[in-house]
């Protein structure tokens, strides 16, 4: 397979995975969380038992797929190690994509090791005490908001690689 074509396919898979991940992150933060207080109590299980678990499945595997294809893409571009080292003397573009990669990695970690374990407790997939359920829901919410905050500079840094000369 032609290497240019391979790089294109990997970039496309990285972008569509990221749309799945960040799209659902923004769905949770811009739509689901603000809407929950407005939903009558008897209708809440439709969200917490049906919609949220399905959204969380695609959310966490979207995150996994994004980081895997992203790392392959950085390797194919030849800047994987330099970007992880925040530039390695290869210029601002590589530093920018490196910052984006670190932010994305922090977000991926939050999804798999903070948000998902706490959501399992919050949504009743794992049975815990009511106090622990409330604590888990708050932790998941705050880390979801942290990722929403980080998604702004992360996407900026990722996209800026193409046009850094304007900065």
């Amino acid at each position: 397979m032609d290497s240019e074509f391979l790089m294109f396919i990997v970039r496309w898979l990285h972008v569509v995975s990221a749309i799945m991940w960040i799209g659902l992150l923004w769905y949770f933060n811009f739509v689901q969380m603000p809407s929950m207080p407005k939903i009558p109590a008897e209708q809440k299980p439709a969200v917490s038992k049906v919609i949220a678990p399905a959204a969380l499945f695609w959310f966490r595997w979207g995150a996994m797929s994004t980081i895997i294809f992203g790392l392959i893409l950085a390797y194919l571009n030849g800047y994987l190690v330099d970007a992880i080292m925040l530039g390695g003397g290869k210029g601002a573009k590589v530093t920018a994509i490196g910052v984006g990669m670190w932010l994305g990695t922090i977000m991926w970690f939050n999804v798999w090791f903070v948000i998902w374990p706490n959501q399992k407790k919050a949504l009743g997939i794992v049975q815990v005490s009511p106090e622990e359920t409330a604590k888990a829901a708050r932790t998941a919410m705050l880390f979801s908001r942290t990722n929403t905050m980080l998604s702004i500079p992360m996407s900026f840094m990722m996209v800026s690689y193409q046009n850094w000369s304007f900065m």
């Binding site: 925040l86 210029g91 601002a92 530093t95 910052v99 929403t148 905050m149 500079p153």
Partner: protein
């Protein structure tokens, strides 16, 4: 009224979607200068 304002200001800013977005934009500007300084 004032106590409501103080109570609101004391909350974690990430509880507000609007404040989360503002923090994200501020962090973006800081990181642009960080990248410029590193390069």
């Amino acid at each position: 009224m004032v106590s409501d304002y103080v109570e609101d200001a004391m909350k974690n800013p990430l509880e507000s979607l609007e404040k989360t977005i503002v923090l994200g934009l501020i962090l973006t500007v800081i990181l642009v200068y960080f990248v410029k300084a590193m390069a």
